[in-house]
Every structure is written in structure tokens, then in C-alpha cells.
């Protein structure tokens, strides 16, 4: 168990699906050989297949104290990286339009904005995902090389690239499929929660670049941090698939807004825009209590009174959204 735990809260009501976080992460961490297909941060449309496809249904995680089996996702499940023939079009005089190669057949967020029907109405929302830096990481348990460790000072889970042998037991064990195999280095990689930035007092790149300002970062056990307030004080943020047993440290404010068109003042639980069953599938039964709380806060604000929860969720400035504590970092000799 680590002394402290960095955590992130993402407000799904504010996500635009613009992928700026994805690109911020990609440019910073996975613009290297062998990383073309991997997105340590991805944003997928829900309901949908996800990235890699069906990651939420294929296995991994804990059950009764035992790791659960899972196949390894294939490259088709992730989507083959493609490139565009800019050179031919821009420099070699080709009059054909710029086309991707190979012909894309799947990819991250391939089913963008498809969603599903709720009655006659289509619905969807975006789910940004990074490594959950779990309290009980299945990946760490699965690694026979002991290459994965949870940093004692801040709970960030990292893979020691010197020890990793590319066995990929961790990928099978992770129920969120947030570890990726780099074929060129022969090792596995994952989100490092931008710890080099945090150590310098800078927030994670995905959070810093988010135009929707939906990410909150801080120490979970620090009562002053926005993540502590949203998770423990106001109880409006939940982990994804808590039943997988890994204790995720990324939390989500469930999507509940806007209300369904023409619901004539009914509560969100009475006439939800998003089917409640689907939210329960993602976040567990507790999501109903969270929606009731959020709806009450909304009512408070609509009546002209001040809602501390909504003020925090609006997150006007970086000081409100982030509470970075670089002094937590111990000097490693």
C-alpha cells in the first residue's frame, strides 16, 4: 500500500470527445517506434465497442482473490495504425486525394457517436480512459518478473522497462486493458500518470490540455484536494467497473445531463436520457445515489442558491481543478 495516492476525477457531463487529451498524451509519450497503435489515453464512445474492442467483456481483474483469465487483444481489436500519403499529394504532384494506408478497418473510437437507442432516442456519451493506477493492481500481481511496481510515495503504477521481458501476463490481467505491448522494444508500456510532470508541479498533460476542463487531479487522501472532495466529501464520483476488484483510482462523475427532451420536469431517474441499466453496468448500483445527489445540487443552483459541488465541477481555474504536491516525491538514490 502506498503512503499517498494520486487520483483523477473526470466529469463525463463535460467531455466533448475532441481527443485533445489523446493527442496531448500521444505527442508526449507514444510518438516512438512501436507505439503507433497505442493510446495510453483514449476517448471512446459509450455505448460502444471500446478500445481495444470489447475490453470490458473479455476478462482480467480479480474474483474471490484470484486473477481472472483473459485473452490478449489482437491488433485488429486495437486497430492497425494507418498513415496518409501526404508526400504523393503535396510534393509529388499526385492529383488523387490523400488516402489512408492500410485501408482502415478498425481503430480507437471506430464507432464514434454511433451510440444506441433508448426508446426512439439515440444516446451516447464519451468515456476518456487512462490507466486507473489501481490500489490492488492485477497487472502487478500477474508479472512473474516483478517488473511492475506501485510507487510508495504517490501510488502511481509503473513498469520497469529494464525488468520487463514482454511476457504480457499484465495485459491479460488488466481488466481495463490499459497496458500495451511495444513490438519494437519487446516490452509492455502504460500510462505513467505523467509522474515526471507531477514531480515538477505540473499537472498531467491530458488534464492540462482538456478544453472541456473535465479533469480534476490531486491526492486522494488529501482533504483539500478536489479529487478527495468529489469522491469522499460530496460522493459524486465513482470508479469504472468496481466489481473487477482492482480498486481504480480514476473516478467518473456519471453522465446525467442534459435531461431528456420533453420530460416535463420528471427527475432523471424517472425518465433518464441514458438508460440507467447502462450506467449501473459501468459504475455499479451506487450510480443511482450519485445521480440523486447531483440532481439535488442542480436544483439548488436552479433555485438561485450556491452549490459547492457544482462550483467545484465547473472548475473555473487550474487552482480549483488541480492540487499537485511535488513535495511528496522522495529523492531516489
Amino acid at each position: 500500500m502506498s503512503k499517498h495516492q494520486y487520483a483523477m476525477v473526470m466529469d463525463l457531463n463535460k467531455c466533448l470527445g475532441c481527443q485533445t487529451c489523446t493527442i496531448a498524451c500521444k505527442k508526449l509519450w507514444t510518438d516512438r517506434d512501436g507505439t503507433s497503435y497505442m493510446y495510453w489515453n483514449n476517448v471512446e464512445t459509450r455505448p460502444g465497442l471500446g478500445y481495444p474492442r470489447q475490453w470490458d467483456r473479455i476478462g482480467g481483474g480479480w474474483k474471490d482473490g484470484m486473477l481472472q483469465p483473459s485473452p490478449l487483444p489482437t491488433m485488429d481489436d486495437y486497430g492497425h495504425a494507418w498513415e496518409y500519403n501526404y508526400e504523393q499529394r503535396l510534393f509529388e504532384g499526385s492529383r488523387k486525394p490523400v488516402m489512408p494506408t492500410p485501408d482502415p478497418q478498425s481503430g480507437a473510437n471506430w464507432d464514434e457517436d454511433v451510440g444506441a437507442l433508448n426508446g426512439e432516442d439515440n444516446y451516447y456519451f464519451y468515456l476518456p480512459r487512462i490507466c486507473n493506477h489501481c490500489t490492488y493492481p492485477a497487472c502487478l500481481e500477474a508479472c512473474p518478473r516483478k517488473a511492475i511496481y506501485k510507487r510508495e510515495e504517490d501510488g502511481i503504477v509503473v513498469i520497469d522497462q529494464d525488468r520487463c521481458q514482454g511476457y504480457r501476463y499484465c495485459i491479460k490481467a488488466c481488466p481495463y486493458k490499459k497496458i500495451y505491448f511495444n513490438e519494437v522494444t519487446g516490452k509492455s508500456e502504460k500510462c505513467i500518470f505523467c509522474y515526471p510532470r507531477l514531480e515538477k508541479g505540473e499537472v498531467n498533460a491530458c488534464a492540462a490540455q482538456c478544453p472541456g476542463r473535465l479533469r480534476f487531479v490531486g491526492i486522494l487522501d488529501d482533504p483539500e484536494s478536489p479529487v478527495h472532495k468529489l469522491v469522499y466529501t460530496y460522493k459524486v464520483a465513482l470508479p469504472l467497473f468496481p466489481e473487477k476488484g482492482t480498486g481504480p483510482n480514476v473516478f467518473y462523475v456519471p453522465p446525467f445531463n442534459p435531461p431528456k427532451r420533453g420530460n416535463y420536469g420528471k427527475s432523471i431517474l424517472e425518465d433518464p436520457r441514458l438508460p440507467l441499466d447502462y450506467l449501473i453496468y459501468l459504475f455499479g448500483e451506487e450510480v443511482k445515489d450519485v445521480i440523486v445527489r447531483l440532481e439535488a445540487e442542480l436544483k439548488t443552483a436552479q433555485e438561485g442558491r450556491r452549490s459547492e459541488v457544482l462550483q467545484l465541477l465547473i472548475g473555473r481555474d487550474a487552482e480549483t481543478r488541480y492540487h499537485i504536491r511535488p513535495q511528496l516525491v522522495q529523492i531516489r538514490l
Binding site: 503507433s36 497503435y37 483473459s70 486495437y78 496518409y84 501526404y86 511476457y167 504480457r168 519494437v184 519487446g186
Partner: protein
């Protein structure tokens, strides 16, 4: 009834005797590998498909499959039952050739992206094999030959460290050392090795500094198509070089 009782007693005795035998330097019958001497050069011996290997008598080595290590592993039935081992001494070196039948050559050809300026990096080679594993083989010898006791077959033991000459169809040759199960680590050194896959057979040749007669030697093969890696593999008992 008496026959089956006799059989049970024999089996029980074998269970006691066989592990003891593995701990002694007295080679069990059939586990001695004869070594041919040659005046050929290193280049000739390490040439792919070199006929010099006809001089060495092949020793058929029985392979065992490790039991499932993790509950989450898919079961894998044995596919590779034996391997042929040939050993040559030449020029102060010992050469070991391991050959075995393999239905598939699991060896992705990597095309590394060349170091080029960003504007030339449009055509990155997409990776294709995130869920594939690769064929590999290894020869294990004691780090300090001459001990009257063989190291543990599970990567040696603290008193009897081992040296592992590991070859991987993608990553090439790596010298490793270990002092017991899960202590295996790379030394950062490589060694000369050559591999050929032809007509469904791998032939991998390892070069090592010469070893004295009577040195124990054990072999392992990883079959990529069976998702072999780590301790999931085929292994032999200790053999002895003549």
C-alpha cells in the same frame, strides 16, 4: 494383483531414485552426449546449413512440458517431444546445435523505423503482432563447471549458479545467468549464434567457451505458437557432454 503391487513399488522407487540421480554427477544411462572435435573455423561452423555438423553424432533429447504455472494460463498439450543435440569442439570453443521439428516459424520480421527527420516519418511501419509470441531455445550449463553436484534444473540454485545461452527468433542471442527459479537476468552480453528454419525444422547453433568433459548441459525450447514465454516451455533433464 501381485503384478500391479510390484508395479506400484517400482514406480514409488523410481520417484525416489530419479530425483536423487539428477543431483549427482554420475551420468544416467543414455544422457551422455558425444562430442566431435573439428579443426574447422568459427565461420564455417556458424555458417547456416554447414555440412561440418555431419561429423557430430546427434543425441535425441527428450523434452518435457512445464506444468501450467498460472491459473489464468490456457492449457497447452505437448507438440515437441524431442530435440536433436549435436556438440562440436573447435578452436577452444564448444558449439551446440539444437534442432527440432516445429509446425510454424514464429519469428516476426521487424522493420525498425529508421532514424529520420520528422517530415520523413510519415510511413511508420505498423506493428502487427501484439498478441504473438516467438520461438526460442536455450542451453543451460553450470556457471562453475566441475562441481560434483548438478545445479537445480530450475535455473540453478544459490550454491550452484547457472549460465544460460538464450536465443530468440526475434531478439537474437543473449547470455543470462541465474541462481534459482525467477532469478534469471540478462548479463548484457551476447554470444555468436546462428539459426535456420527449413522444411519445418529449426536448427540453432550456440557458441560458448569450451567446457570440460563431464559438464552437465540442459536444454529448453519455447514454441511461440503455443504462447510459450517465461517458464511456459519445453525442457530437458541434465545431459552430460563427453
Amino acid at each position: 494383483m501381485q503384478t500391479s503391487r510390484w508395479f506400484l513399488w517400482s514406480a514409488a522407487l523410481a520417484l525416489i531414485v530419479v530425483p536423487c540421480a539428477a543431483q549427482t554427477a554420475i551420468p544416467a544411462a543414455g544422457t551422455v552426449i558425444s562430442v566431435a572435435s573439428s579443426s574447422a573455423t568459427e565461420n564455417t561452423i556458424l555458417q547456416a546449413g554447414s555440412s561440418i555438423w555431419n561429423q557430430a553424432l546427434p543425441k535425441k533429447v527428450s523434452l518435457n512440458r512445464t506444468p501450467p504455472l498460472y491459473d489464468t494460463d490456457e492449457p497447452a498439450l505437448p507438440e515437441i517431444w524431442t530435440a536433436d543435440v549435436r556438440v562440436l569442439r573447435a578452436g577452444g570453443k564448444i558449439y551446440v546445435q539444437l534442432s527440432w521439428h516445429d509446425n510454424s516459424r514464429d519469428a516476426a520480421t521487424l522493420q525498425p523505423v529508421p532514424d529520420s527527420p520528422p517530415e520523413k516519418r510519415f510511413l511508420k511501419v505498423p506493428t502487427e503482432a501484439g498478441d504473438r509470441f516467438f520461438d526460442a531455445a536455450a542451453v543451460m550449463v553450470p556457471a562453475q563447471p566441475g562441481s560434483p553436484v548438478n545445479p537445480s534444473l530450475q535455473m540453478g540454485d544459490p550454491e550452484h549458479p547457472v549460465r544460460i545461452y538464450y536465443w530468440n527468433a526475434v531478439r537474437g542471442a543473449m547470455l543470462m545467468e541465474a541462481r534459482g527459479r525467477s532469478t534469471t537476468q540478462r548479463t548484457g552480453q551476447s554470444f555468436p549464434a546462428v539459426s535456420v528454419f527449413k522444411n519445418g525444422y529449426w536448427a540453432v547453433t550456440f557458441e560458448a567457451p569450451d567446457l570440460p568433459s563431464g559438464t552437465p548441459m540442459a536444454f529448453a525450447i519455447w514454441n511461440g505458437s503455443q504462447k510459450d514465454r517465461d517458464g511456459r516451455k519445453y525442457f530437458s533433464v541434465w545431459y552430460t557432454v563427453d
